[in-house]
Symmetry: C2
């Protein structure tokens, strides 16, 4: 691949990341991106069709770096059973906090998604706060709430984008099972012996 292409694309990616940390994504124009990258505006269209395409490309770098590092340490253990792997995700986000804070907190349709999650979490928290003594909990209440809200959002969006292959009732039963009892029960009979062993002894 022509050295100039690599160079140009990288400059555009870097420029967008820099801009995204400075001002709302929605207000960033192609002109600004190419100005920041010190390239001609027409050059942008030689490589990308839209801001979104550039953003997706820019972010792939980050994700790939993370998943490669996780792959290196998780061998035969599901990621959610490995504190090590989960920890690496949190460290990755911490390392790129400025970027992720913006990506997650920006307006637009992303806002809607986070609104749904926040709405669920806050609504849920409100009800539970009056009922339980949060000082006795081993996991802080907001984390439990967002755990639930995120699970609900993600299973919901999977469900609707896959043409609702189960009834709401079935989804509700499974959702409750996952949230209340966790995943460990699910594997008692389905995981290979060596794996459930690994899950139980990994920490």
């Amino acid at each position: 691949m022509d050295r100039r292409i690599r160079r140009t694309r990288k400059m555009l990616c870097d420029a967008l990341i820099r801009l995204v940390m400075e001002k709302p994504y929605e207000t960033i124009t192609i002109q600004e991106i190419t100005d920041e990258a010190d390239l001609n505006r027409a050059t942008f269209y030689l490589h990308f069709g839209s801001r979104e395409e550039l953003l997706a490309t820019s972010l792939t770098t980050y994700y790939d770096d993370l998943t490669q590092r996780i792959s290196a340490i998780t061998e035969d253990v599901p990621i959610w059973a490995s504190t090590q792997a989960i920890q690496m995700v949190f460290e990755h986000v911490q390392d790129n906090a400025a970027l992720y804070r913006v990506l997650i907190g920006n307006p637009g349709l992303g806002m809607v998604i986070n609104q749904i999650i926040d709405y669920t979490a806050v609504y849920t928290q409100h009800g539970v706060e009056q009922l339980c003594d949060s000082s006795k909990m081993t996991v802080p209440l907001p984390i439990v709430m967002y755990h639930f809200a995120g699970s609900l959002y993600a299973t919901l969006s999977w469900w609707i984008q896959n043409d609702m292959p189960y009834t709401p009732e079935e989804m509700a039963v499974m959702g409750k099972e996952l949230c209340l009892n966790g995943t460990i029960d699910l594997f008692e009979n389905s995981l290979a012996e060596n794996v459930s062993l690994a899950v139980s002894k990994v920490n």
Copy 2:
């Protein structure tokens, strides 16, 4: 409040919802919204400052309707312990499937969030598929994956937007606890007696 104001705002809300189901949100202009609502473009600016503001207003109606209905049935049980309540959420989304499919699947920054969740879910699924016999699982694998991915995303975003009040290690330990063992353990000592009773007998 002047009847005209109510009428105009409702027409704008409805128009946006209609348009959002027809074409990508990013491509919808103020002009189109007011055309669809059969109002003058200047009228839009009398009521809303941006498309986002209108969208947020439009959606509040939907959420409020849902939470009101849930509040009516859940009295002293946390929502994630009530299959009834979870079921209502899924039914609500089913009833408005066309809208939610668009809201969740649209490009923009929302895409990024869903990409993160998908990326996590697909990555996780790939690793587990080789290890377990999914036919023996009581909850289908993709649902488990999205449950985990959503939990991770939401706790992560709560964490970063609240200035990372715990270390990555602490977050990882709590995340694993929630995913593997669920929330039921957490309440054994912290919930009022009547509530844990309700949780255990509600279904």
